[in-house]
């Protein structure tokens, strides 16, 4: 174990140190990782902003009324698709493009291809989302991006997977660290279920089953795997000790790979689907307890006794937040798949609380942890500790506020419906929770603003004592 973690940066950095005149800026090491990562941070801010707008619309529906492109029903798919394909996919692919060369001790197969796919992905996603806002949505959850932009994403992933897979095949380090297993799981089946989910023309219930098979794989074996790969990579480095147990991570990985792809059907529990689809998916969802526990024990063991590091390293705090929320969201998902609870809580805000614990609690802090890690350990830049501390607490308060307000409101809805109430009847009771949710969202956004400012400042105006000048003089204000 120790050798992988310790020797990680050697070859890549040695390669980077060799000045080569014919290297174009686009080919520099980590060039692709940077484009992906910064794009991910950009889209993370955008999706949060849209999320806050929607949250306001849910208690004050006249907000921004009259602009069709900004209607709730059009913004919500944009929020989701930017969250999935912008923020999560791009940000964690940034982390992947950073990790793969280091874990394989091999330069990326093609930095140029990596950067170009990132830029293409950005414009493609923008076009797709404008398409949705203009009314070209395909109308099915998670497949809204209209043709041809949906298919372009599939083709881009093939190019990305080829790039990463070639790097892994050409690797110098023969041992395969657990992060690479997760990355392999993420990049191999994606084109299959993505194409299936977006291009299939089934109808009715078959369409629904396939829709959920596709979208749950998107969360489970695309985003979760990339997120876990990132955590498995950065946490041992942040605490400066090896992973607690490789055997447990082995168990966690293979059980996740075995059970996650079966989870899709749990979106239609009690729905008009064949009983065995429900049974298989409920079983698999409950079996997800095993990989979740494995991850919990493994990271818990690694993080045990790292109080001192937690106090000083904000990035590490975000890792722990992501870890806690991952375990929480996964166990919660398992609980929500229990048929009796699903009967009460399906269709309520509880689903929204669960999803946001996953994305806002695991996805956001995980990417932030990686970004702080990247700034500090790779670029050797010192970010503002003060801003980062504020960022941490704002994010923490925002996430708790969001999940708690939606969780309570979901439980209330379920209780009211079981007592014979209707969604219209609970509208007034939900009002304060909808307001609380919007405020929580605003708090997260405020933290995100500090984060973006911090990253921008750190990267563009690095603190270098040897060339320090008066900032006013530099900007020409004093002359």
């Amino acid at each position: 174990m120790t050798s992988i973690q310790d020797r990680n940066d050697l070859v890549v950095i040695a390669n980077a140190a060799k000045p080569s005149p014919e290297i174009l800026p686009i080919d520099r090491p980590d060039g692709a990782a940077q484009v992906w990562l910064y794009s991910g941070i950009f889209w993370m801010s955008v999706t949060m902003l849209i999320g806050v707008v929607e949250a306001v619309k849910l208690f004050y529906p006249e907000f921004l009324q009259g602009v069709p492109a900004l209607a709730y029903g059009r913004l919500r798919p944009v929020h989701i698709n930017i969250g999935l394909f912008g923020f999560m996919s791009m940000g964690y692919l940034g982390a992947t493009f950073y990790m793969v060369p280091r874990l394989t001790q091999t330069p990326l197969f093609s930095e140029r291809l990596g950067s170009l796919t990132a830029w293409f992905w950005n414009f493609n996603l923008l076009a797709g989302c404008l398409g949705i806002m203009m009314g070209f949505s395909k109308g099915k959850e998670y497949t809204e991006i209209p043709f041809p932009f949906d298919m372009t994403i599939g083709i881009l992933v093939i190019a990305i997977a080829g790039n990463l897979f070639s790097t892994i095949t050409l690797r110098q380090e023969r041992r395969v660290y657990v992060s690479l297993w997760y990355i392999l799981l993420a990049i191999i089946p994606f084109p299959i279920y993505y194409t299936l989910g977006n291009a299939s023309k089934f109808s009715g219930i078959e369409d629904a089953i396939i829709n959920w098979f596709y979208s749950h794989n998107l969360f489970g074996i695309w985003l979760t795997t990339l997120g876990l790969a990132t955590l498995y990579y950065i946490v041992p480095k942040q605490v400066n000790k090896p992973l607690y147990s490789h055997t447990i991570s082995f168990v966690g990985f293979w059980t996740l790979a075995a059970f996650y792809p079966w989870n899709g059907g749990h979106h239609v529990i009690w729905g008009p689907v064949p009983m065995w689809v429900m049974t298989a998916s409920v079983t698999a969802s409950i079996a997800m307890f095993i990989p979740t526990c494995a991850t919990m024990i493994n990271f818990g063991g690694t993080a045990w006794g790292t109080w001192e590091i937690m106090k000083r390293d904000i990035g590490y705090r975000f890792s722990l937040m992501a870890y806690a929320c991952y375990v929480g969201a996964s166990l919660w998902g398992t609980v929500l798949a229990v048929m009796s609870l699903n009967a009460k809580l399906h269709f309520t805000n509880m689903t929204i609380a669960h999803v946001h614990l996953g994305f806002l609690g695991f996805g956001v802090p995980g990417l932030i942890a990686f970004t702080y890690f990247y700034l500090e350990r790779s670029l050797k830049l010192k970010y503002s500790q003060n801003l980062a501390t504020w960022h941490f607490w704002l994010t923490m308060v925002g996430i708790i506020g969001y999940v708690v307000s939606m969780g309570i409101s979901g439980w209330m809805e379920g209780t009211a419906w079981e007592a014979g109430g209707s969604p219209q009847g609970t509208m007034l009771d939900k009002y304060p929770y909808h307001v609380a949710r919007a405020i929580s969202g605003l708090i997260v956004m405020a933290g995100q603003f500090l984060f973006v400012a911090n990253v921008y400042q750190t990267v563009n105006y690095p603190i270098d004592l040897s060339t320090a000048t008066d900032p006013l003089e530099k900007s020409g204000v004093t002359s």
């Binding site: 799981l185 078959e206 396939i210 098979f213 729905g271 064949p274 419906w417």
Partner: protein, 183 residues
């Protein structure tokens, strides 16, 4: 676990993913008649209803309105009034609008609430409600679809009135004297 090569990992992952693919994608289509045949009496969408359906998709109605009644306690009233949903009810739905959230009410039987035979009052209510929901329910958080054209509102209304309407027709045929006299 010192030298794991990539190839066996890829093979085992493919088998695991392939089994789930077989179970959740291929099997429902191949092995289940329930999934691939329409319910008795189900009527295909007329051109205006189909167009209304497109507007329903475009405006994202599905994010707040489910179209499935489940046989559970939370849906007890809906089951009592309309019956639980069956797979065949969705035969003509492309894309499906089963939904995941109920910010608003379930719509799968809306055509049996605002029935076509009520005539103008039902249509006027639905269209007026699309244009300004808060005129009818001050607590509603539904967006106002005042930007839809008259034709679009009419098509959307046709679609909403078609939801579940065929079930009433089936019921009245089943209980009509010509068919039940023999029994």
């Amino acid at each position: 676990m010192r030298y794991i090569s990539v190839f066996p990992i890829v093979v085992i992952l493919s088998i695991l993913f392939g089994s789930a693919f077989t179970g959740l994608v291929i099997a429902p289509g191949v092995a289940s008649d329930v999934v691939r045949s329409p319910s008795v009496g189900l009527v295909a969408y007329s051109p205006t209803e189909a167009n209304g359906r497109k507007i329903y998709a475009r405006e994202g109605c599905v994010y707040c309105h489910s179209q499935q009644v489940r046989n559970v306690k939370a849906d007890e009233n809906l089951v009592a009034a309309f019956g639980a949903a069956k797979a065949g009810d969705y035969f003509y739905d492309l894309p499906h609008f089963l939904g995941t959230s109920r910010q608003g009410p379930d719509l799968s039987n809306e055509g049996r609430v605002w029935r076509r035979d009520i005539g103008a009052p039902a249509r006027d209510y639905l269209i007026g409600h699309f244009i300004n929901p808060r005129q009818y329910n001050p607590n509603s958080i539904m967006p106002a679809f005042d930007y839809l054209s008259t034709q679009e509102l009419s098509d959307l209304t046709d679609y909403i009135q078609s939801l579940g309407a065929w079930k009433d027709a089936v019921k009245s045929v089943a209980s009509s004297p010509t068919l039940t006299t023999g029994s």
